[in-house]
């Protein structure tokens, strides 16, 4: 009863935050738009088991659902925290002395709903990108149905996983946004590595093409846009609903349902001890050190406050940062230096949303408001400070690129250094903007540390 009320009120809460809902929809539409490769490309952009995946409604659905599963944990947790201010919910949970599994169930239902909501708009974005594909076979509605069933058939698993992470992690770390994002990122990587690629096979890689495309052995892979063959007959593909009657299809459906229920049960089991009322904790350790740093940073005015806000809590991060910058220095100029740079910036980026929140809603605002400067010069100072600190992290790479005379590389770095603080300070004006920024920052971080960001030549 309590869980259902909680889920219902979380949905109501989200609906009453139109700006956050709109921002989430825009984000999901954009995600859908970029999920699919360019339909007009004259080459096969994706392969599956060695076969080129060429546009058909089924392939579109497969890619959309599969990609959503891969990113759903990040997307789900971030969308939940944008749509529903978990810090405030957390203070409600604390006073009710409610059973944790009751809260976890309510959060899971809400998170699952948010996951499906995101999937719907990602689906919409993908549809915008390649709507003409649906009509290529002459049966637009039939194509849409195939697209829909495959997107949701796979994506529902991602929504369940996202709901589990949201209900367990968000509940405990609602008041520690930086830790929440760090934990989400680590869980995402672990789940991606251990489950999606591993034996559970959430993304359906083990699900044979023979079930997706019954004619896989003799089908014409040249159909679709590639080869300008839009008017040729489409490859026959099954809707999810037709699978129970196909060899291996029922097993596929059963495993997906089992994963969803498994995720729900995992959330209930992992819900942990009861949530206690919030209280400001008195920390007694490290006081002399904190005192020294606060006296030191006070000498640098607002810049000192910003540095203090970013680095005071995660002191361990300074050690990791030093390692990353050292690694970048040693490998300056090599592609691996971009990975180190991404790691250094990632540590820093994780603190920005908090900084922006503090600035817009809390301590920093009350600190600077009595000044004669007004908010915009302060925002400018914050932006400049962020850019300056990012430049320091990128210094080895700037020197290496400068010495090599790689102007394009320097522009590539400069754009990031300039864009990140602008986006951060700009988004901080919006409710939920900090969360959207953190999503973008996290994705950029992932692109860099996964080695996918290449410095332009020249």
């Amino acid at each position: 009863m309590g869980a259902l009320t909680l889920a219902r009120l979380m949905a109501l809460e989200a609906l009453r935050r139109p700006r956050a809902v709109l921002a989430t929809i825009m984000l999901a539409l954009s995600a859908g738009f970029i999920i699919l490769p360019n339909p007009g490309a004259a080459y096969a952009t994706l392969t599956f088991r060695g076969h080129p995946l060429i546009y058909t409604p089924a392939v579109m659905g497969f890619i959309t659902g599969g990609e959503f599963v891969a990113f759903s944990i990040l997307l789900g947790v971030l969308a939940m925290s944008a749509l529903s201010p978990m810090r405030a919910w957390r203070s409600v949970f604390g006073v009710t002395a409610a059973r944790s599994w009751d809260l976890a169930l309510g959060l899971w239902i809400a998170g699952f709903g948010v996951g499906l909501f995101l999937l719907t708009y990602i689906f919409g974005g993908a549809l915008l990108r390649a709507s003409s594909v649906l009509g290529a076979s002459g049966d637009w509605l039939g194509g849409l149905w195939i697209f829909f069933t495959w997107s949701y058939g796979l994506g529902v698993v991602g929504a369940a996983l996202a709901a589990t992470v949201a209900s367990v992690v968000l509940l405990r770390l609602a008041t520690r946004p930086a830790l929440l994002m760090g934990a989400t990122f680590v869980i995402w990587l672990v789940v991606l590595a251990a489950l999606i690629v591993g034996p559970v096979d959430i993304a359906g890689h083990g699900f044979g093409l023979e079930q997706l495309f019954p004619q896989t052995n003799r089908m014409d892979f040249a159909m679709g846009f590639i080869g300008h063959a839009q008017r040729r007959a489409g490859v026959q593909a099954r809707a999810i609903g037709a699978l129970p009657g196909v060899t291996g299809g029922a097993w596929f459906l059963l495993t997906r349902v089992a994963i969803v229920f498994g995720a729900l049960i995992a959330a209930l089991i992992l819900s942990g001890p009861r949530v206690k009322p919030l209280v400001v904790k008195s920390r007694t350790w490290g006081r002399p050190l904190a005192g020294f740093f606060s006296a030191f940073s006070a000498r640098f005015g607002l810049a000192g406050v910003i540095v203090g806000q970013i680095w005071s809590a995660p002191l361990w991060g300074l050690g990791l940062l030093a390692v990353a910058v050292g690694f970048e220095t040693i490998n300056a100029g090599n592609p691996i230096s971009v990975v180190a740079l991404g790691f250094a910036w990632g540590l820093y980026m994780l603190r920005w949303p908090e900084l922006c929140e503090v600035f817009e809603h809390g301590g920093l605002r009350s600190l600077v408001q009595p000044s004669v400067l007004g908010p915009w010069p302060i925002r400018l100072q914050i932006g400049v400070n962020i850019a300056a600190q990012m430049s320091i992290f990128a210094l080895p790479l700037i020197v290496a690129l400068g010495l090599a005379g790689r102007a394009h590389g320097l522009v590539w770095l400069g754009v990031q250094i300039a864009a990140a603080p602008l986006v951060c300070v700009g988004l901080a004006r919006l409710r939920g903007g900090a969360t959207i920024f953190s999503l973008a920052a996290m994705l950029w971080w992932y692109i860099m540390i996964s080695g996918n960001a290449v410095i332009p030549l020249g």
Binding site: T5, L6, L9, L12, A88, V95, A97, P277, V279, R283
Partner: protein
């Protein structure tokens, strides 16, 4: 019966509470002390939100940290009032009632709102309430149902004087059937409405006596020294 025996509580290396013992069967017990005297920590332990490092805090023989999990035993209104939510006060109270497993929630909400004079604000969104309004919301959720022990941490701070008087009248009425432990800086109202006052100084009980045994001057002087 609330029973506190040789309670000690530390936060890290900081000793917040030391050697606190008292019993409270029923009625309104006001906990008064200066800032940082340990009122909030004492109330957290009494409400079962934190465990003592040493000693024992129990309600009818059961540790409060366990009793708080049982329906209708303990209601707690902490200082924290971060309620920046778009749900209404009515929805908030309904959620609290549901999460506590209380039945007949409509009746309970109406009764709590009537008791604290919140009827007109029931359909206001929490985020739109003033600081005092959110404080009232936190107090109202603690009063839902007929909890045997009600623990309130500064329920009338940020609340206007007229509402504060109404609150204390409500507390006194509740005190006939329940035990209330209330931390407050409203010395005057506490003197007029509480059955007894526990004076805390530096985490230790300086004095526990009937409210009639204190005067404003004496309490002010004691708080100033603390």
């Amino acid at each position: 019966m609330l029973s506190v025996e040789k309670l000690e509580r530390r936060e890290g290396r900081l000793q917040i509470l030391r050697d606190i013992s008292f019993e409270w069967p029923r009625g309104v017990l006001a906990v008064i002390g200066g800032n940082g005297s340990g009122k909030t920590t004492l109330l957290r332990v009494v409400a079962g939100a934190a465990k003592p490092n040493e000693g024992r805090v129990s309600w009818n023989g059961e540790p409060t940290s366990r009793a708080v999990r049982r329906r209708g035993k303990i209601g707690y209104g902490p200082q924290e009032r971060n309620l920046d939510l778009a749900i209404t006060l009515r929805e908030f109270l309904g959620l609290c009632a549901d999460l506590r497993g209380l039945s007949a929630r409509k009746t309970l909400i109406a009764a709590a709102a009537e008791e604290l004079g919140l009827v007109k604000q029931l359909d206001e969104r929490l985020a739109n309430l003033s600081g005092g309004g959110r404080r009232k919301a936190m107090t109202a959720q603690a009063l839902l149902g007929a909890s045997e022990l009600i623990v309130l941490d500064e329920p009338t701070s940020e609340v206007d004087y007229a509402a504060s008087r109404k609150f204390w009248n409500a507390f006194r009425a509740r005190g006939k059937s329940s035990a209330l432990v209330i931390a407050t800086h409203d010395v005057e109202l506490a003197l007029g409405s509480a059955d007894a006052i526990l004076l805390l100084k530096k985490g230790q009980p300086a004095r526990l006596a009937s409210a009639a045994a204190f005067t404003i001057g004496e309490l002010s002087a004691e708080i100033g020294e603390g």
